[in-house]
Amino acid sequence: MNDTIIDDKIKIYQDVLDEGHYKLLTNNIDTIHSEDIIFFSDGIPGFEDLTDFIVCPIIDYKPFQVFQSLQSPEIGMIILPIINKFLSPANMTTDLLISIYQKEISPDNDIYFICRFSDKHITINTKAPLVINLNTKSGFQPIIDHDDLNTNDNAQLINKESDGK
């Protein structure tokens, strides 16, 4: 892709981000750089047409990030690396989960839970994690067909003493 096309795309994306829901949780992104864009060639299930995303750390809760579409300002999800000090699946150890994922996901990738928040608890999608390769700036959302994984698993707090910083 030539530089002019990339520049034009970034101008459009900057306008989209001005309306982006990520701002509810993170600092405003003043300038997008082409290397910030993570490309999902097949989109993600339910949003197959959205291919370009950005991730932004959440203020004061840095392992949590917003996965924000650059094509649709209202499409943003909260993600968390599967290895973190906050949450783990309630029904299995993180080690077991990693061993399940390792059969289908290359270790070159970073793997994230997509988190869902209600007023009282947090659930995580262990069946379809978000996979991002920061070297190639690409990602995908595989569906792991395993009976112990769910799209809406309960999450348990790892360290209740954590101050979240």
Binding site: H21, L24, L25, D42, I44, P45, G46, F47, I58, D60, Y61, F64, E74, I75, G76, M77, I78, F86, I114, C115, R116, F117, D119, K120, H121, I122, N125, K127, A128, Q141, P142, I143, D145, T151, N152, L157, K160, S162, G164
Partner: protein, 71 residues
């Protein structure tokens, strides 16, 4: 929708590199085998539907109360 009748052991070819073979037929259960490039994602539709719904409901519209939820 294209409708084809196939017997056990017969195949269907889709494009140049996807092959579907009827392995077994038993009352209401049809067992099929699929040969496709590794890059072709193949899912049971109910699984894909569940992930679509989960993704749609994971979009946040309000600021979650992280300090309380992570206490």
């Amino acid at each position: 929708m294209l409708v084809l009748s196939r017997k056990k052991g017969e195949k269907i070819i889709i494009g140049k590199d996807i092959e579907i073979c009827v392995l077994d037929v038993d009352k209401n259960l049809l067992k099929i085998g699929i040969n496709a490039p590794k890059s072709t994602k193949i899912y049971r539709s109910e699984l894909y539907d569940a992930v679509q719904k989960s993704n749609a409901s994971s979009i946040f519209t309000n600021k979650p109360d992280l300090p309380s939820l992570l206490k």
